[in-house]
Amino acid sequence: MPVSVTNSKLIYDALKECDVKIMSALPETWLVHLIRMADDDPDMTLVRIAKEEEAVGISAGAHLAGVNSALLMQNHGFLAAINPIVSLALLYKIPLLLLISYRGHMGEKDPWQTQGGLATEPILRALNIPIWHLNTPSDIHRRLKDAQTLAHASLHPVAILLSRELMWEE
């Protein structure tokens, strides 16, 4: 499977440096290595959810309890979580570190991913959620740290869009 182990590891290490202790996830192809790394790490609590809405609640609880978390999801999972992002995270000023695999964007071969790809950025912008694209390995460390810093300072969700160039090795 040509999902980049190297770049997944860079992302995972950056999350560890952000002191992320709880990671919620629903499997998707680009995220497999990240999920395995979290599962193999005794210091990480990996919460395998049934639907992405739950992840917003889990991260809200963790934040109020003073624990850093990250939400790992496909962009269709983000679409599934919009109501809680609005009516929990935005309403109650909860910072969220959303790591979203950006399926359906340039290079996508699966037709079923393409509508979600088209909708992702416009919807993030409509929700006023700042976006960092992760396209190159050298950006990973700085951009993840800066995204978390902004989330905590603004008490607001931020989105990291994981690109095909970063996650998929052709």
């Binding site: 202790k21 709880i22 609590t45 919460v47 395998r48 959810i49 049934a50 639907k51 809405e53 739950e54 992840a55 917003v56 609640g57 889990i58 991260s59 809200a60 609880g61 963790a62 934040h63 109020l64 309890a65 003073g66 624990v67 978390s69 109501n83 809680p84 009516s87 929990l88 309403l91 109650y92 000023k93």
Partner: protein, 193 residues
């Protein structure tokens, strides 16, 4: 049983622990019994009180977390039962007040009025300890048993579809949020020192 009587019966346990409630009647009735900084009222995001409780329970394993859920809310997020059951935090107690209706929005019947069995769903989802308590006394006993067992527990309590006259709470959402966070942080610092 009236939910307000049920809450009254377990208020001593509630006030000593972290509590996350759903919106509407449950929140107002608990608030009316006496607000504590350890109470968080999730006034929207229906279905997610249990997910929040799970996040808190995993973050603060030394402290008990009680979620006050409802049939309408739980039916919106049934996956939460399988997620809680998967991780089985010992410090999480999930109480579902089942009034078989969406009381705050007109009292329309939920599926539990037509046979859906939330305790059965909880059991089949893998919640290790599922109890049913339909009187204030039996609810209090169930809570005591759940605490003593140190096992993830869901208690389903059938209650009447009767709520408060007013849903007003003199507590802005963000005040509740920051107050609650400060309370949880004080627990964390206390257990760290």
């Amino acid at each position: 049983m009236l939910r307000s009587d049920a809450l009254q019966a377990i208020y001593p346990e509630l006030q000593e622990n972290i509590v996350v409630t759903i919106m509407g009647a449950v929140a107002v009735e608990l608030y009316t019994l006496g607000h504590r900084h350890s109470f968080f009222y999730l006034e929207h995001a229906m279905g997610l009180a249990s997910s929040m409780g799970l996040g808190i329970a995993l973050s603060l394993p030394a402290h008990k977390v009680i979620v006050l859920d409802g049939d309408g809310s739980l039916l919106m997020n049934l996956g939460t039962l399988s997620t809680m059951a998967r991780y089985k935090p010992e410090n999480l107690l999930h109480i579902v007040f089942d009034n078989e209706s969406l009381l705050s929005v007109g009292g329309f019947p939920t599926a539990t009025a037509k046979g859906t069995d939330l305790a059965g769903i909880a059991r089949s989802s893998g919640i290790p300890n599922v109890l049913e308590a339909h009187t204030p006394e039996s609810l209090k006993e169930a809570v005591t048993y759940a605490f003593a067992s140190n096992t993830l527990t869901t208690i389903v309590s059938k209650v009447e579809a009767i709520g408060p006259k007013s849903f007003h709470m003199d507590l802005p959402l963000l005040e509740n949020r920051f107050q609650f966070k400060r309370y949880l942080e004080s627990l964390k610092h206390a257990s760290a020192s």
